[in-house]
Structure formats: structure tokens, C-alpha cells
């Protein structure tokens, strides 16, 4: 049945030939775990495509909704945490694996004749992957992504002659905005993946033409192995390990929620992802007119060195111990990159050490003739408790109960929110929102505490809690008091959202902080599908069971063969 179907297909489409062409190959020296990195990278790329497409079911590439839609995937879509987590960590794993693959190829001297083009195409793949990481970082339109994109495109702008042109094409204009996100989106999900797929095909054709390079030792080369199934088995085993690691990372090391992008923000300290840290550190070292050396010179030199390597090093010697010059130079470059990465990781420029306080007119916004001065800094006086008449509500309500703003659906970053709270809210609500600031003329006599918040506002459901708080921050609130001019409450809450004295991202961060003070995590997963840790545990058990059963079979068949005389030589 199967063979007749096989024949039917092969009469019409050369399945057997294609299979032979792609998998039938002798590997000098036999299959090895040293050769798994290329195929591991390729498997990860396929995984990135799948998790990427799945995220597109929910993700919306607009500046107002990108962050909220991604947060929705991560918190409210069943297994969204897994899909996004694998995509996030998969990108990092892919970068690492490409690095190891490149280093392995270098050590084995696999870039030498006749594999120069395989190497150059590989360098191209490295650059395309860097492009994928760069464009992908912008898509959440969160704080880190926004600022990394701002700085990254500005670096492109410093290239002599074509810089401004390149920068404006990337951004879709002089400033970052919707067109920037649209362009990065289309680059990340269509243009670059299409090019990557094509170049991967070129890489594989070149690889298939010349095969694995094998050991440099002539004696070891005498033994040969088969690509299928010897090497593919090893590749598949390693991939299953990588997948398990990715699931573990997605479950235990949640990618940060840095808060929605806020173009006006000056409190965030943007730093590139670890893979660009060495360039970031290099930029800081070259100052004034030397700037382009850091931003353009170093990357260009590295790329030229990589692409030119097969032409600079033309000797046929492959044994690393007999290639001292090449190894020394590579060692210096790698050590340099590692040093810069580590120093970049630990560097804290700017205002990290001490607190920044906004001053005076900071809190005033001028709009067409009228200026609004906010009550933040009004000095409170000792207050006498005013006893309310029976039946009168003493608690504050939002000035307009209905409307929530965009911030209600943005998952803020509480640490960033704390900074903003200490600037904007602490004067009335007290340090850590503990309250106790007098508000003469109101029934309560004090500004309500936010820590703990009033029980009617509290909810364990983060999105519900956020909406409750958002109504106050958007619309402001008036403290009830006896209705006489002499005792009007001195303090009232400004409609921070409506008057735009805080941006929506800022409000989202402050809400996240107030929720944090009340013991509610804004980034709690609402619908997990299966709880992350449980899911990892299940995957781990399946992984162990699978490989121990396979291992047991292998062991049994080896013992069986060992008992049959004359069969030993085959092993």
C-alpha cells in the first residue's frame, strides 16, 4: 500500500530524488555533536516563524494598540505566555547559536576553499538575523523598544552622505511615529523573513554541494558517517533539549513589561539588548568628531573582517593549533567584544544614583490662553475634623464616573510608576501612598490613602482594578465637604488624563505602582491555558520519558547484538 503510493507519487514528482539530494551524504569522520549548531539555528528559525505567525493572530501594529495587543497575547490568550516567551527567548537563543556556529566553523577552518561562499552567505544570514532582532524590538512599542529604535535609527542617521536618507526611510519621516512602526512591522514579518528564507536556501545548497568539512586529522577522516540518520538524530536530540530550555525560560524568566512607549519620557534609561551592548559601549568611548568610529567604523570593520576572512586567510591548513595568527586575532576580537559587553552591562550613566525632581512650572500646561496650575504643591494646614451630616457620602468619587482612558488597558511598569508617583502624587497621597496628608475642609480631613486602597476599588483581577484606579487619574476627584465657601476642601485631584498633565503611558505606570502597593501584580497572567510551571513540568516529564524509553531500546538492542557472535564489527 505504502510502496504503491510511493511509486504513484514518484512517477509524478521526484520525491525519492529530492530526499536523496537533501539527506544522502557521507560525513567525513562521522556525525558529531560539534556539527549541530547550524541545524539548531535553522530549527529555531522555523520555530520563530511559527510563533511569530501565531502572535499575528492578535498583534495590531498601531502605536495606540501595539503594546495593549501584545500585553493581551501575553496575559489573556491561552498559552500566549508560551508563544511570546518562546519567540522572545528564541531570538536570543538564535543569536547565541549563530555565534557558536560561526565560531565552530572558524575553528574547524571550514571557511577555506571551496567553502568561501558558504561562509559569506552565512555572514549575510548573521546580518539579516541582527536586522530581525533590531526590527522585532520595536514592535511591542514599549519603552525599551521605542528608545532602542530611536537611538538605532539615529545611529543610521550619522552615516556620512546617505545617513539622513536611510534614517528617514526607516522611520517613514523625520520623527518616530506610526509610519516607523508600520515600516518596522513589514520589515520584520515580510521583507526580512522572505530574504532570510531565500538566503538560508543558498546556504543549504552551498552546504550540500561540499558537505560537512569533517575533522582536520587525516586519520580521523577515514571513518565516515551518514547525514541521515546519524547526524539528523543528533540534531533532533539537541533541538529537543533547546526546546525544553525555551519552555523553561518562558515559564520561569518572564520577559520584562517595560511599560508603553512614552516619547516624552526622560526617566527611562534605554540600553540595547545584550547582543548590541558592545556597540553601545563602543559608542560611549568615541566622543565628538570621533563619534562615527564607534557608530559606523567598528561595525563596518567587523563585517569586512568576517566577509573577507576566507580571502585574508588562504592557507589550506585547518588544524587550529597550526593557525596561530588567525586564532590570535579572533581571540582578541572576541575578548574585546566580551569586555565591552560586560562593561556595557554594568554601566549606569545618567541619573540612576539620585532622584530627579521636577520643579515649579513643570506641572503647568498652557493651552490657548488659559493656564492651569495644579494643586500638587499646595501646603496643607492642620485640619479640624468636620463631622458630616448623617447620610452624606464622605468618600471621594471620580469627577466623571464613566470614562476610562487608554491607560486602563496598558500594562504599566510599576518600577517606572514609582518614579512618576514620587514626582506627581506623593505630595497629596503621601510616601508609598500611605496617606495622612491633611485636607482641611473635607469630611475625611485627609487625602485618602492609596496603600491600602479603599476596599470598593480593590480587586484581585488586575484589569478590573486598573480600570477602577484609571477613572480617578483620568477624571480627577473632588473631596466632599460641607457646602460653604469658607470650608471648601483645600485639595482636590486634578483630571490628570483629561488635562493631559500626565500622558497615558505615565498613567498606566502609576496605576501599576498603586496596584503593586496593594499587592496586585499588573502583569499577572489571566488566562494561561496551563499554568507555566505546570506546563514546564509536563514537558519535562514527556522529555524524560521519551528519551529514557528510546535509550532503553538502544541499550537492549546493543546487548542483543553483542550476544550474537560476528556482529560486533558492525557497531
Amino acid at each position: 500500500m505504502l510502496s504503491s503510493m510511493n511509486r504513484w507519487i514518484n512517477d509524478r514528482w521526484p520525491l525519492a530524488e529530492v530526499w536523496k539530494l537533501t539527506t544522502d551524504e557521507d560525513i567525513a569522520g562521522g556525525a558529531s555533536y560539534a556539527y549541530v549548531f547550524g541545524s539548531a539555528t535553522l530549527s529555531l528559525f522555523v520555530l520563530q516563524i511559527i510563533t511569530g505567525v501565531w502572535q499575528l493572530l492578535y498583534y495590531v501594529p498601531t502605536i495606540n494598540h501595539a503594546y495593549a495587543s501584545l500585553s493581551y497575547i501575553r496575559l489573556s490568550v491561552p498559552f500566549g505566555w508560551l508563544i511570546h516567551g518562546i519567540h522572545y527567548w528564541g531570538a536570543i537563543a538564535m543569536a547565541i547559536l549563530i555565534g557558536v556556529h560561526l565560531l565552530r566553523t572558524f575553528l574547524w577552518g571550514a571557511y577555506k576553499e571551496p567553502r568561501e561562499l558558504t561562509w559569506i552567505i552565512g555572514v549575510l544570514l548573521l546580518l539579516l538575523t541582527a536586522g530581525m532582532i533590531f526590527t522585532g524590538a520595536a514592535l511591542p512599542w514599549d519603552e525599551s523598544g521605542y528608545w532602542v529604535t530611536e537611538v538605532g535609527t539615529s545611529i543610521a542617521g550619522t552615516v556620512p552622505f546617505v545617513g539622513t536618507f536611510a534614517e528617514e526611510i526607516l522611520r517613514g519621516g523625520a520623527q518616530m511615529g506610526q509610519l516607523t512602526l508600520s515600516r518596522f512591522f513589514i520589515l520584520h514579518v515580510a521583507v526580512l523573513p522572505a530574504i532570510l528564507l531565500g538566503v538560508v536556501a543558498l546556504h543549504l545548497v552551498a552546504f550540500r554541494r561540499h558537505g560537512s568539512v569533517g575533522p582536520w586529522d587525516e586519520l580521523k577522516r577515514k571513518r565516515t558517517g551518514k547525514f541521515w540518520p546519524d547526524q539528523i538524530f543528533k540534531d533532533a536530540f539537541v533541538f529537543s533539549v533547546i526546546l525544553l530550555v525555551l519552555i523553561a525560560l518562558a515559564a520561569f524568566v518572564v520577559p520584562p513589561f517595560t511599560g508603553p512607549a512614552d516619547p516624552l519620557d526622560a526617566t527611562f534609561h534605554p540600553k540595547p539588548e545584550w547582543n548590541f551592548l558592545f556597540l553601545y559601549q563602543a559608542i560611549k568611548a568615541f566622543q565628538g568628531p570621533w563619534e562615527p568610529v564607534g557608530t559606523i567604523g567598528i561595525p563596518t570593520v567587523l563585517i569586512v573582517l568576517l566577509i573577507g576572512l576566507p580571502f585574508f586567510d588562504r592557507s589550506r591548513e585547518r588544524n587550529p593549533l597550526k593557525r596561530p595568527v588567525a586564532l590570535t586575532i579572533a581571540g582578541i576580537i572576541i575578548a574585546g567584544i566580551l569586555t565591552l559587553t560586560v562593561t556595557g552591562y554594568y554601566s549606569h550613566p545618567g541619573l540612576q544614583k539620585h532622584e530627579f525632581k521636577k520643579t515649579g512650572a513643570q506641572a503647568s500646561v498652557y493651552r490657548g490662553g488659559e493656564s492651569v496650575k495644579y494643586s500638587g504643591g499646595v501646603a496643607a494646614q492642620a485640619s479640624d475634623q468636620i463631622v458630616p451630616p448623617p447620610g452624606v457620602r464622605v468618600i471621594q468619587m471620580p469627577s466623571e464616573v464613566g470614562a476610562t482612558g487608554l491607560a486602563a488597558n496598558m500594562v504599566g511598569n510599576w518600577e517606572h510608576g514609582k518614579k512618576l508617583f514620587d514626582i506627581n502624587c506623593v505630595n497629596c497621597h503621601g510616601r508609598d501612598g500611605r496617606g495622612g496628608i491633611p485636607n482641611p475642609g473635607s469630611y475625611l480631613g485627609v487625602v485618602p490613602a492609596l496603600n491600602p486602597v479603599r476596599s470598593e476599588l480593590f480587586s484581585k483581577d488586575p484589569s478590573f482594578f486598573a480600570r477602577n484606579l484609571d477613572r480617578f487619574v483620568q477624571n480627577g476627584a473632588q473631596a466632599p465637604g460641607p457646602d460653604s465657601a469658607a470650608t471648601t476642601p483645600q485639595l482636590s485631584m486634578v483630571a490628570y488624563g483629561k488635562t493631559q498633565s500626565l500622558t497615558q503611558p505615565e498613567i498606566a505606570n502609576i496605576i501599576a505602582y498603586v496596584m503593586h502597593l496593594n499587592g496586585v501584580n499588573r502583569t499577572r497572567i489571566l488566562r494561561a491555558g496551563v499554568a507555566p510551571k505546570t506546563f514546564f513540568f509536563i514537558s519535562f516529564v514527556i522529555f524524560l520519558a521519551l528519551w529514557s524509553i528510546l535509550g532503553a531500546f538502544r541499550f537492549a538492542s546493543m546487548r542483543k547484538r553483542a550476544r550474537v557472535p560476528g556482529n560486533m564489527t558492525k557497531e
Binding site: 542617521g157 519621516g173 523625520a174 511615529g177 506610526q178 534605554p270 565628538g288
Partner: protein, 176 residues
């Protein structure tokens, strides 16, 4: 007769093949030209369009603490592609009688937003550690030029500013 007939088409097909090769190339060239230029233009011109800055009222100068840099906010109608919305802008204003300087809040290095450090009395950029004096001069760090000043005027006690952006990372101040 038969021979010439069989030879002639052979000869003909030689030159015809050459024609067909060139023709195929020409068709591809034609498609590239009539589609390529418009497609490229739709990508490029849209990005390079210039926006012209106008003076926008920022606020009463009476709020400004003398000698202390202060950040002021104002709103401006901004058009981003098909979306027209109110954009919030911010500027740093240093008011030192009789002088007033209005700085763009964007670090001239690579576009981050810098802060005033009241303790050390200078501006610092959190991204790559550039430090600027109160008058905008570079004290240290990678910034290639002083803070960018914006055109401004004060009429009837109200400060107005022209919101301009400048090319980053070069020593010359160049409007974009």
C-alpha cells in the same frame, strides 16, 4: 528544396532566439522600470517630506524660576501620515535675566531625552552619558555639539517656540 527549408528555420531560430532572449530581458526591464520607480518613490518621498515649524504658544514666562532650567510643555497639532492629533511637546527653558534660552529636549547625540540634575547643576543624558552645562555647552560625553536651541519669542509675557528637529550625531546644527 528540402535542405534549404530545413536550414532556413534553423538559421532563423538562431536569430529569433537571440531576439527572444533580449525581448524577455526587455520585458523584465520594462516591468522593473514602470513599477520600480513609482514603488520606490512611494516609499521615499513620503519619508522625506518636510514639515514647516510655526511659532506655538508655550506659556507665561512668569512661572519660570530665574536661573533654574525648567521643562515646559505645550500642545501642537501634528500630522503623522493620515492621523492628525494633538502632540505633546516639551522644551527646557533657562531664564536668566535678560537672557532666555529654549533648548530642544532631545539630546543632539542620538536622540534620547536628557534631564536636569539639580544636585550637580548640569544636564545629563541617560543613554550614553553626555553632560551639558546650563548654557548647553558639552561638558563631557559623546555629544558632538551643544544642546540645540529653538527659535523663540516672548510677547506680552507669553513664550512662543518654534518646534524644530535637528539632524543628530553631527557637529553641525542642521534642521530636518
Amino acid at each position: 528544396m528540402e535542405e534549404t527549408e530545413s536550414k532556413a528555420p534553423e538559421k532563423l531560430s538562431q536569430s529569433r532566439r537571440k531576439f527572444m532572449k533580449i525581448g524577455a530581458g526587455a520585458a523584465v526591464g520594462f516591468a522593473t522600470l514602470v513599477l520600480g520607480i513609482p514603488f520606490l518613490d512611494s516609499m521615499i518621498s513620503q519619508s522625506l517630506r518636510l514639515r514647516t515649524a510655526k511659532f506655538v504658544k508655550v506659556g507665561p514666562v512668569i512661572f519660570l524660576p530665574p536661573g533654574i532650567p525648567d521643562k515646559m510643555f505645550f500642545d501642537e497639532r501634528d500630522k503623522d501620515a493620515y492621523m492628525e492629533e494633538t502632540a505633546r511637546r516639551d522644551v527646557w527653558v533657562v531664564s536668566e535675566d535678560p537672557d532666555m534660552k529654549v533648548f530642544s529636549p532631545i539630546c543632539p547625540h542620538l536622540g534620547c531625552r536628557y534631564n536636569w540634575n539639580p544636585r550637580d547643576q548640569h544636564f545629563e543624558c541617560p543613554c550614553h552619558g553626555s553632560v551639558f552645562a546650563k548654557d548647553g555647552k558639552v561638558l563631557h560625553g559623546p555629544a558632538p555639539r551643544p544642546l540645540d536651541t529653538l527659535p523663540h519669542k516672548v510677547q506680552g509675557g507669553i513664550l512662543s517656540v518654534k518646534w524644530e528637529r535637528f539632524k543628530l550625531g553631527i557637529s553641525k546644527k542642521q534642521v530636518i
